[in-house]
Amino acid sequence: MTFKIINALLAIVAGIGVTLAIFWLFNWLVERLPGRSERVLKPWVFVGPAVLLITMILIYPAVRTIILSFFDRSGTEFVGLENYANLATDPAFHTTLINTLLWIIVVPVSAVVLGLLVAILADRLAPRGEKITKSMIFMPMAISMVGASTIWLFIYDWNPPGTDQIGLLNAIVVALGGEPQVWLQIQTLKLNSLLLMVILIWLQVGYAMVLISSAIKGVPEETVEAARIDGANEIQAFFRIIIPQIWGTVVTVFVTVLIGVMKVFDIVYVTTNGLYGTNVIANDFFVTLFQFYDNGRASAIVVILLIAVIPVMIYQVRRFRAEEAMK
């Protein structure tokens, strides 16, 4: 064990040291060059490692994956659109798509609404109470999705009827006179998926709350005062004055949570592994690759995810350029 710790420390030092050394070396080399070459190459000393990493880890593999989606399960034989055709006709994949869509809609909306609610209410407290409240709501963000799944699996736990329930949800149900349920297997109205979504919402509300709270505090008090003078009550003031002014942030939060939700894997994997109709795209990808060893099909699944993400990407890039233009 101590060997491992020493090894780890050495690895940390070595990793950092090597990076620094490379940077210093290249800079030193470039500075030796005559003026013009130096000026042209200098930026690349700085940007080079980053660009190299991005190309090597993100861009090149992404392109390879797209190509691989047209090949067979072992990646050797070209099969054209076969993987896509199979996915299009597979009812299980349809369920996966529908679930993913459901996640994408329910989680961001819920997180934003809850975050908004808490931000507004907490805003009315005195600073110390507000800080503590926010910290408590925010804390789940530090927890891993696996950890959160552990916590919530425990809440959804089931013991046979007649014995004491150890899962909080069933305990409440039994106390109200009902029968304990195996919650994560109930597919009617997608209840099990919804219960899994609760986990992600629980993790993300803190994020929504923090950002929206910042935005609300940025709303000039005069605008609200003016509305109050004109006779608006709290609710009207809220919807007509505050909401429009924080809308930009609300959208940002929504989009960020949306991106995260599209990639949701850990929660589904660790709780149901996609069974009982809870499968989502990211989980499907993992299972297809590591349980069924089907490179082609897994790649096709990921490409579909990528296509779904493209509208969001275009939106982000557009917004970025608009904001840059204003600087």
Binding site: T19, M141, F290
Partner: protein, 304 residues
């Protein structure tokens, strides 16, 4: 010799009180409905974690036969034990904890250096292709990491890196790069240009300006991203599972998942202790560094 003569007014002129409203002392505008709602929400948010925490200290038989709230309401008549933690640490969680540290710290520090250098160039150096490359970076913020896994596995496989820590470092460095560059550049743009200009006039090279001026001034942003990345890597399951894998080097998320998927409900207390162990460090880091974390979150979102 002419000295300016200061004429002091003989009358005492009291400064006119400014016409603007003095901000009232911040006090609570919350009525009991608001307070009650908030209390309910906070409690609802805390209960799941508390449930885990309490259960992790209960012996196995108690934990699987009665709800944890019964123990909470009868603290003195229930059994409490540290055995779960002892078991789970001896069973590999301790090892996993060390592994997590070995994976997370380099995966946090390495991207920061590389991204800081790049952000510096994007902010302060004009070079051809700069804007195009940065747009690509912005676009990449959205791309799911899964898109890279299959080819990356093949690449790492060829260098025999699969299952080792460097595989995770490189992967996380690459995946975290777009966000790092984005956050750091956004921050560097707010630094006072005058200081950098005067450094240039004094003959400082980019290298010197970066290390001696910009980097120290960017510490808040560096801290923000560091916490982000730390939490992200520590809590990550997917990359850890695929590139480091279960086994000797498994970080704590993988170990937790092994426990979860292996136990058939009978070892709840081990899972709870393990789960809590995996959370202590990130929660502690988070509570201590909350301010930087929040600043990092808002940096990318609410543009001032």
């Amino acid at each position: 010799m002419s000295t300016p003569v200061q004429v002091t007014p003989t009358t005492n002129v009291t400064p006119v009180k400014a016409a603007k409203k003095k901000p009232p002392k911040e006090q609570s505008r919350a009525n009991w409905i608001v307070r009650l709602t908030l209390v309910i929400v906070v409690v609802a948010f805390l209960i799941p974690t508390i449930g885990l925490f309490v259960t992790s200290f209960r012996p196995r038989d108690d934990a699987s036969s009665t709800g944890w709230w019964t123990a909470l309401f009868n603290p003195f008549s229930s059994q409490w034990t540290m055995q779960n933690y002892a078991d789970v640490i001896g069973d590999g969680m301790g090892n996993a904890f060390v592994n997590s540290i070995a994976v997370t710290i380099p995966a946090t520090v390495i991207p920061i250096l590389i991204a800081a250098m790049a952000a510096y160039a994007f902010t302060f150096i004009e070079f051809p292709g700069r804007d195009v490359i940065f747009i690509v970076v912005v676009g990449l913020l959205v791309v799911p990491n899964q898109v890279a896994f299959v080819p990356l596995l093949q690449l790492f496989g060829r260098f025999d890196l699969v299952g080792t820590f460097p595989a995770a470092w490189i992967a996380h460095a690459g995946f975290g790069m777009p966000l790092a560059i984005f956050i750091l550049r956004a921050y560097m743009q707010t630094l006072p240009k005058a200081v950098i200009e005067s450094a240039k006039i004094d003959g400082a090279s980019h290298y010197q300006t970066f290390w001696k001026l910009i980097l120290p001034m960017s510490v808040p942003a560096l801290a923000s991203f560091a916490i982000f990345q730390f939490l992200w890597v520590w809590n990550d399951l997917l990359v850890a599972l695929i590139f480091v894998g279960p086994g000797e080097n498994a970080p704590i998320t993988v170990a937790l998942r092994n426990n979860l998927m292996g136990q058939a409900g009978a070892g709840q207390n081990l899972v709870t202790a393990g789960g809590f162990l995996s959370m202590i460090l990130p929660i502690a880091v988070f509570l201590v560094m909350q301010r930087y974390f929040v600043r990092g979150l808002t940096a990318g979102a609410v543009k001032g």
